[in-house]
């Protein structure tokens, strides 16, 4: 008896595609088809070239947010961080190419420090992540204002080339987004640290009981998240020729939205960075699509909200239970 049952333990599949990925991918394909039919201008070359760099930046910010959410937290310091990093890489060099590298290094140093502060506040002093990152966000704005006084500066040529030069007709910024998503996916799914990172997020108590250093993984999430925000900030500094001092504001809630759409649970655990990144493309193209249809901003926003609601409902609602409930009823009706 047991021998037959042993064979039932099937081998692991070589490649796994998450439900979030499938959902978002289907959404993106459907959206592009709809765009082609109803609003062809939204998939014109000009429209796409204008949209994709911003989708890439949102994707990279979303990767960082994914890591924090995987640890059961939420990072509201995105706004202050991205704004600060954009200011550091544009204000610091002040259009002098030779000062760019030190500025970028300074931005990364600031990112690591910010991540450590966020992480320490959440894991060491046991603050709620919303409160901790809200406070740190204000501090980041303070630093940003101290540096720039709130008035923007033009980006340097070198940074502009770095992000806006094209290969195979696409801006480099788009490739950076893809590279970040691929690297993070590999780190999470294929390395010891990444695998344990997911385990800690899924159940910190169990992770502690098996002897994992839970605190380090949790602080690491906040630091790594800041590094991604910093990459996004640097790219944004190149993509926008004259960025504002509040460039990060528009990223906070969308970054949470793409993570949720990508299927990563706000309760923590397994993360789907590639799906988060693709969800960023979905949101930006959705925006573009609705914009091309000529509907007002209000409708665009409502459409985004509804797609978010559907996305979450797909994961949050126990559809199996709902199906069996209504399925059973359906059969009864048929029988009757």
């Amino acid at each position: 008896m047991s021998t037959t049952q042993i064979r039932e333990v099937k081998r692991s599949a070589r490649m796994q595609v998450s439900r979030g990925m499938k959902t978002v991918l289907a959404g993106v394909i459907f959206l592009y088809i709809a765009s082609a039919i109803f609003a062809p201008t939204s998939i014109s070359r000009v429209a796409q070239m204008g949209m994709l760099p911003f989708a890439a930046c949102l994707a990279i910010v979303g990767l960082g947010q994914t890591l924090v959410i995987q640890q059961g937290g939420i990072d509201l310091s995105v706004a202050g961080s991205v704004s600060l990093f954009v200011v550091i890489v544009t204000w610091g060099p002040d259009r002098h190419d030779d000062r760019l590298i030190p500025a970028v290094l300074a931005a990364f140093a600031a990112a690591i420090i910010t991540g450590l502060i966020n992480g320490a506040l959440v894991t060491k002093t046991k603050l709620n992540s919303i409160v901790a990152t809200l406070g740190v966000n204000s501090l980041l704005y303070g630093v940003m204002m101290a540096l720039s006084g709130g008035s923007p500066r033009r980006t340097t040529d070198r940074l502009s080339h770095f992000t806006n030069n094209k290969t195979f007709g696409l801006q480099h910024s788009v490739y950076y987004g893809i590279i970040c998503a691929v690297i993070l996916t590999i780190l999470l799914k294929r390395t010891v640290i990444g695998r344990r990172f997911e385990a800690v997020g899924a159940n910190p108590r169990a992770a502690l009981a098996t002897g994992l250093k839970v605190g380090r993984y949790q602080i690491g999430a906040y630091v790594a998240a800041q590094i991604f925000y910093c990459i996004a900030g640097v790219i944004l500094g190149g993509v926008i020729s004259q960025p504002t001092a509040y460039q990060g504001d528009e990223f906070v809630l969308p970054s949470v939205a793409v993570v949720v759409l990508g299927g990563t649970s706000l309760l923590g655990g397994r993360g789907f960075p590639a799906a988060s990144a693709l969800a960023a493309l979905f949101l930006k193209q959705l925006d573009m699509f609705v914009l091309s249809l000529g509907v007002p901003y209000g409708v665009r926003t409502i459409v985004i909200s509804i797609s978010l609601m559907l996305g979450i409902a797909l994961y949050a609602v126990n559809w199996k239970a709902v199906r069996s409930k209504f399925g059973a009823k359906g059969r009864e009706l048929q029988a009757a």
């Binding site: 294929r190 385990a199 899924a202 949470v256």
Partner: protein
Amino acid sequence: MSRSPLILSNISKSFAGVAALRDVSLEVKEGEIHALLGENGAGKSTLMNVASGTLQPDSGTIEINGEIITALTPHLATSHGLAIVHQHPAVLPDLSIEENIRISVPEEFLLTEGSPAATMRKILDDFGFTANIKDRVETLTIAQQHLLDLAKAFAVNPRVLILDEPTAPLGQESVEILFDRVKKIAKSGTSVVYITHRLAEVRELADRVTVLRDGKWRGVKDIADISDDEIMTLIVGRELESTFPPKHGIKSTDKQFFKVADISGADFQNVSLTANKGEIVGIAGVVGNGQSQLLRAIAGLDKFSGAIEISGEPISSKQLLNKAAYMPSDRHGEGLMMTLSVRENAAVNALSKFTSGLFVSRKTETNVVHASLQSLEVKAPSMDADVSALSGGNQQKIVMSRSLLAEPVLIIADEPTQGVDVGARAEIYKILREVAEKGIPVIVNSSDAKELEGLCDRVYVMSRGHVVSTLEGEDITETKIVAAAVSSTKLKKEEGPTVSERVLRTRKLLRSDFLPPIVLTGMITLLGLFIFSRNNLYFGSYNINAVLGLGTGLGFIALGQTIVLMTGGIDLSVGPASGVLLVVGSFFVNDGKSLPIIIIGFLLMFVVAVLIGIVNGSLIRFAKFTPVAGTLTVYIALIGIGYLLRPAPGGYINATVTDALLAKIGPIPYTFIILAGAAVLFEVLLRRTGWGVRLRASGSNEESARRLGININRTIIGAYIASALFAAVGSVIIMGLIGLGDPAQGTSYTLQSITAVVLGGTSLLGGRGSFIGSLLGSVLMVQVLNACVFLNLSQTWQYMFQGLLIVFAAISYSLTRSGGKK
């Protein structure tokens, strides 16, 4: 003879196909103390959960006071005069003792001594309870929380009183008081069902005894007609099942291969264990006598004093954490990552062994894990299946697979077969035996004495944190184990106050809800005086009016946010909600519109607010969105609706209305006075009414609140509606300030309101907070922004002060609350 007050007939109940009760009947006569006996898992607690309406039986009838009740609920059971004290006390940690009593004890029982306060004091005094009724329950020890739960049950003078192992956490003095009370209440006519493991207690208290075994009824007897041995036979009953692997036969040369020398921790004292190579060590005893804590210490998870040696080498707590494999009894909470797959769970500790280069080799991992799962005969649909989809036995095997793959130096298993079916049990025993034979010491804690008899080479029986008996070889029998565990006279150390009265008082003040308002008032005053010393225009009536005006809008929204945070949720939608409501109002409340139209406009604002609250609450309670996700989607939708209604600012507000809203008395706006009144009113409602108690109860401990009969869905959805209504009031204030409909107004209030509430000392964990604190938090926020203007400081400082304020407030509240907690 009158009809028995509680008759359970032919009750059956299964969980996921496993029968917990099969055709069990129980009749409790008037005024008798009826002991319910049986081993762990015999079905005693399940039967009592059926009797109290917590569980619905699959079949059988429940008759209370001669009335057959088909669908019993906890509430219905209470109204029929049935009171139950569970093993885990149903108390709400964030509420005071007084509030906990009020939730369970109807007013009519609180007047016997004149005033409720005096009656409560009497209720507690009767149990030798010295704590102040205003103290929070979280400051009580576990034993005191049990006493509180007992006191509540006795206070309603029930017709049937069910006590589920009431003495387990109590000290000797309290046990005597309890016995005395039980005897008295039975004499007055109350029937008592007394669940216990201890025969001595049965002898002392019971009139009759019913024994359950494996979910089946074994017999009922008058206590005078049955000897202890006969009771034991009824409890133990079954023959040794042949599911156990042969014991370690050969006497090992490697004596005392594993040694635990005189270790002590918080819940166990002076425990010494030894094992020879190849042996399995059993830890026995009635649940809750320090066994689990001992295991955690040996696993390196808890602190201990004393020494542990493996094969002659001393091993530290830190090394143990890394090298020992711990299999916790709470498999779902602590054993497995339930949302991850079988493979991911099994591999997590051994991952570094599977690497080739930088990466985990998928091939090595799948091969090794597959081999391990096969050798443990795991039955799973696939290695990629979620571990939550497996049966209890197979889940336990995944824990074992994970432990073994990590090549541990020691295996510690806490209740390894709890919730595991018989077939898988045998396999788990076999695995443990094989591991032991390989020379890895195995320690097993089990409340099932039969299991220890079959499995172990050496059994240590614990009682009240001490080893009371060591059994070896032929002596390891279920009867001897149970006898040692139940007949022990070891007493639990009475928990006494170890800190001085003054320290206690300071602690109480630090944890009080009133500390944040006091601190905030101080800060607001100091900041005001400081700015005044730099700029004497500061206390000018123009400035005071401006600060309070801005603070009023934020203040109302923050009061709403406070209500939601109190339930342990969060409402991100308040900002855009106030924006949308402002826009709605701006279509009606204009110059030249008639009074009825203007009134309709205001009414509509509040109707829309109720709808917003219902959507938020329903997404969270019914569609199971997390509060952040649910209110975030509503947040985005509301921004859209705002812009849809009014793409650009417009709709000038009626001048009479704005004038009325801006009216002031001296420098103080009327609206601010209303806000202050509302904050005080809600502070009182929160502390004095059922609504306030239900609100805090849901946030404090949802499970306990449910058991106490609180409608959680209604309470929480109501909180979101209240929050949206406060946002509506806030939008009316904003209406006066800006004088037109602008959809962009409002969004910033979301984060500002959370900040203000946090400054006010309300915990994001739920259960406690203060409306007055939120009001002061709002004022301080606006004051800090205003201060920078007066001190000629740049915006940099506005942000810096805000950030520092949040971080320091949050840290200091978090520290003072955890301070002194065990």
